[in-house]
Symmetry: D2
Subunit: 378 residues, 4 copies
């Protein structure tokens, strides 16, 4: 690992911390072809970004993201800034020939996502969207089981993403509740994750119907004064899959007692799997081809060396946590770069997700079934 | 308990067994004003119904339900026969001045249910529908907690009723899969239960959208030959409540590994409750008004003397089972009769449920949002 | 089932109720060769036993158990009275040629148990001890898995029986806390169950060491006045098995929050099983011969038709409860009688259990390792 | 955090990795008074330790631990080498005026531990033993609840530490199975953890009785040839506490299916707590002073900002893992050093633990109850 690869990161808050930590850790835990070099971090508040840079070991702190785009030494542009900035940064980065890693939701809407994915394709550069939950070992393992034919034809998918942190009306307006910045509420923030997992595990959704709610209509601005809330606090939808399965999804920040309950279940002809992010080391698996009397839901602790990513970390029985999902994705990215191979999920996956989210937003707005657009269609 | 009350039961299969067992047990476990007398049981197959009568202690076995209606000594008519018989029997029973206890779903559709509920009201007789899950102690307890104001304003309801017993295509046609007899598939069989619980715990649903599937299109008839399947194997829907909450429901017989997973969760401003029939002694309760550091989901084993019905059975730590939900309802019915008080759920509750089911069927058929009709509307 | 078999029962309290219920139910649920006839019930308090008889359908109520022994029509003597009465009744019953079913613990001590087992052997009559937990379907199923060689050589057994009902010092003196009547505290009441399960699942214990505690030294007598408590509230012990395994056991009525936590785990070379009576429909099973990546603890819901006893009751997904363990044992007894075959657990099993309990009491009293006596040794 | 503090670490294998990772992460996540400087790492295999140093950012790699002792710039000596080296290194380090952080078990036996604790006291330097599980947030939180009086007088403690990684006889001899290097088997390796937690949560143990087993008597040496196994594969013991409570402990590497099942339960007069390291984000809490009908075991996800250590890491719902327990302890150590305050657990705690382990070894060897020596006694 004599060579390093320079990274420029735009955004320095929660996700900036998660990504910085990932880049710092992976050189120790993975055998990487290149050592991530934390070259430049960008943010609009110079003092804050400088403090972040110092603490996390970024060489430079800048307040204009274009300085990252313009730096020829920087090979990877990592976009962690709010949703409404992704489009311009990503396109500029692709045009500058950068490898791009973009936080989710990739875009404010499908139209943006179409342009971003087109730019990615045109550039020919490796690109990825931080749907980090694909790198939860238990979820990667679910995909593996499905790939082994252990579920068979799928009948049902059901996914929840339940939180409760905005239930209290005294929680002030944050950027995730600001329509201009976030684009949507739980749709972009939470449904994006479970829709991506649905794409990953089951396949494309054809049409959706649902409903959404704003339970608290007004919140304090941090700077004082009231703000009208225009993004949805909660949203539920049902869907029809191309492969004949049916599903339902719920995302909310008003499920009292649920903190990060990203759960899903796939039911197929030969078995089922169940996952809950609040117990992320486990995958539950039911195999209906076992002898009847010993059938049951098996609680598989996904921390053996044979499980995805786990050989890199500690030993069986020693759990990893939330942060390691970013490490896993960062390591996969560096490996892809070193080997010159494509990386998944990419901007086309981000687009596929966004088109479902657009349909969900439209369905909820109009109380009707909405078909999911095909990429590239009008 | 010197006096007895004569019961006539129509139907003698699975539910006939469940009800017979209930009537036999409750005189020992409850202090009832009247002793249930198992007078007459009716069924179309005379030898089978006679065998049933002998085994379970029914005094008479008949093959024409009208003999029960015509017997002046019989005060309670219990309807356990297939769905397509409920309407005629119930109306005849009310017209004959009987107390009526009818299995769910109450009717084949809303129109039947309207007439049945009208007959019930006109008769002035005590009546009930066997939504036995209201008498699971943990569910009655959930209702109690809600009644104590522990949940507050409700934001979300989500309910599943997952089974897998028809997933195997070699399972033959049974009456529950025959459209003429059952009326619908999982909608009448399973959604009816969770919609009733939703009515019981949250309140009325205003509109629904959903989709359903027939996964196996053809099955063997027990008597030989193939039957085309016309009832839905699975159905999912989202809904909007009159009180502003949103919800979703799923019922299926194709959820591999789920045997009787009737689960629900209510999320409100002060807390939440969660239940799963596969672990029926438990209610999970989250109280967000506790001090932050000791908040959590409490696994309440609903088997203390202070919990609904449990004082009647064994002692704390000694679980009751599926059958006792019928005992609880039967005992409540006998007590209501003895005290001359109304019984819940009644035929109006059965109608309310049926009108939601009608809307679900229509919504799934037409891929559109459908408002739930008000009782008595056209 | 044209013929019946007359039963005489001595004792009418909690266990009297459990047994009566069992005898009443099994004729409906099992295909028995003989119909249990509830002929005579005996108890010292005539009005109470008469009330019990009326409610539960016993033909006669008597206040002297010898009238049951003397009744030639009575074939089965069921002993549910307090521990200090078992010895005399059982021996009298065997001498009168009765089939005997005796509640646990079988005796006050090993010496009594030796005489009782000898009387049983001498009589040649079918006999059983109500270690009803062997008839929890999940436990019978655990035994089946072990019998199928799925665990292999056993390394560990650990069992708890945790309750909390006497933790409150204001709980008055009941017979189970009275040394003269109960013989011991949790040792006879709770350890007896888990020691029997250990004998059933693992094999004989060779030696034990442990310690016990009386946490509340004095309690109110129901009739007024204070009683000094001389039975142990809690007891823990470790043990060495004849087969080389090691184990530990705990029984207590002071485990706050545990109501009926009869749990055990067997660890062997090929796998493990885990059970908790508070979730009695489940057996957890780990199989280390599966492919590494899909190994896990399987939560088997023991309610399929292929599982012990379950075909007799309802359908998969419909749980049975505490009371059905007595039904299962009663049905097995009636079947054994009808077929003239021996019944397990029998008085020799009761003796084997009692000899371990004696060793535990001695070990706790003397703070030393105590070998378990062989049956028939001095 | 302008100033740094130089660390010298002895040992570079699994624990070396865990500690290195901790030192690297905490400067980002905690506001520390001093920045840990990874100055020198020592190990007997020069090429391996050099590779480790390069990967983890240690400035120097040496093959003689005395070079760390002799380096005046190094303030903290961290001992991660095998058990039989702790004594000499720690005493040398204290004599050189170092702060010492020593892996567990602190010593090969009580005699060593006495000398080490005396050296620590004499030096007056801050010292700690890596009983890292005290820094699992859920365990620190358990201690907090006990400190708040929520459990009251303790009746019971029961702890398991179950693993299965040596069950397979083909697992070769590792240093943890070599009596000369490890001193004991599961006693030093696993019981040390749960005995320390017992000391932390309940208080001193007065006497113990138990038994142990070697299930596999011979293993392959990695370098070839057979080795006779002289350390115990499994050990169970019961104990009596100074405060009147009773307990039992089990440690094994032969519990098939249990990977890192470090579990404990404390039962007291007002409530109970339960923990399982395999689900380390949770503490289960039962409060018997709540109204009876809402009592239950509360599953507290210990990841709120108000919980120990959690404010430093991510946000509620985002779990930390095994490695963070070392980060928490390392951060506490650096804070203690910066503030010149004592650190717990210290060498006296290590000694207290070791004296219990000595008693356990003696009790198992002699099949008798053994009192735990007081520190400083002969």
């Amino acid at each position: 690992m004599s060579q390093s690869i320079a990274i420029g990161m735009i955004g320095y808050k929660f996700m900036g911390k998660a990504h910085s930590n990932a880049y710092r850790q992976i050189s120790q835990f993975f055998d990487l072809p290149l050592k991530p070099r934390l070259k430049t971090i960008s943010g609009r508040d110079k003092p804050k970004v400088e403090k972040m840079a110092q603490r996390w070991g970024w060489e430079n702190a800048v307040d204009d993201w274009r300085r990252i785009i313009d730096d020829p030494e920087i090979k990877i542009v990592d976009i962690c800034s709010p949703n409404n900035t992704h489009h311009d940064i990503a396109i500029a980065a692709f045009e500058a020939g950068k490898i791009v890693a973009c936080e989710k939701p990739m875009a404010m809407n499908g139209a943006e996502a179409e342009r971003m994915a087109a730019a990615a394709r045109k550039s020919g550069k490796i690109n990825t969207v931080w749907f980090n939950y694909r790198r939860v070992p238990a979820i990667a393992f679910a995909r593996q089981l499905i790939g082994e034919g252990r579920i068979g034809k799928v009948f049902h998918f059901r996914a929840l993403y339940l939180q409760d942190w905005t239930l209290d009306p005294s929680v002030p307006l944050l950027w995730r509740m600001d329509k201009d910045v976030a684009g949507s509420g739980v749709t972009g923030d939470l449904h994006s994750h479970i829709v991506d997992l649905s794409n990953y595990l089951v396949g494309p959704i054809e049409s959706v119907a649902g409903t959404s709610r704003i339970f608290v209509n007004e919140r304090e601005r941090p700077e004082g004064g009231k703000a009208k809330i225009e993004i949805e606090d909660a949203s539920v939808f049902v869907c029809q899959y191309a492969n004949g399965a049916i599903g339902h999804f719920e995302a909310t920040r008003f499920a009292n007692g649920r903190k990060n309950a990203n759960t899903f279940e796939v039911n197929g002809e030969h078995g089922s799997v169940y996952f809950d992010l609040e117990d992320m080391s486990r995958l539950w698996y039911f195999d209906s081809r076992e002898p009847k009397h010993v059938q049951g839901w098996k609680k598989i602790s996904v921390w053996e060396e044979v499980h995805p990513y786990m050989k890199q970390w500690w030993v069986p029985g020693c759990a990893i946590g939330y942060e390691h999902t970013f490490g896993n994705q960062a390591a996969d990215l560096i490996n892809a770069v070193g080997q010159g191979k494509p990386m998944k999920p990419d901007f086309d996956d981000g687009l596929a997700c966004q088109l479902v989210l657009d349909a969900v937003m439209e369905a909820c707005a109009g109380d009707r079934w909405v078909p999911v657009k095909k990429p590239g269609s009008k």
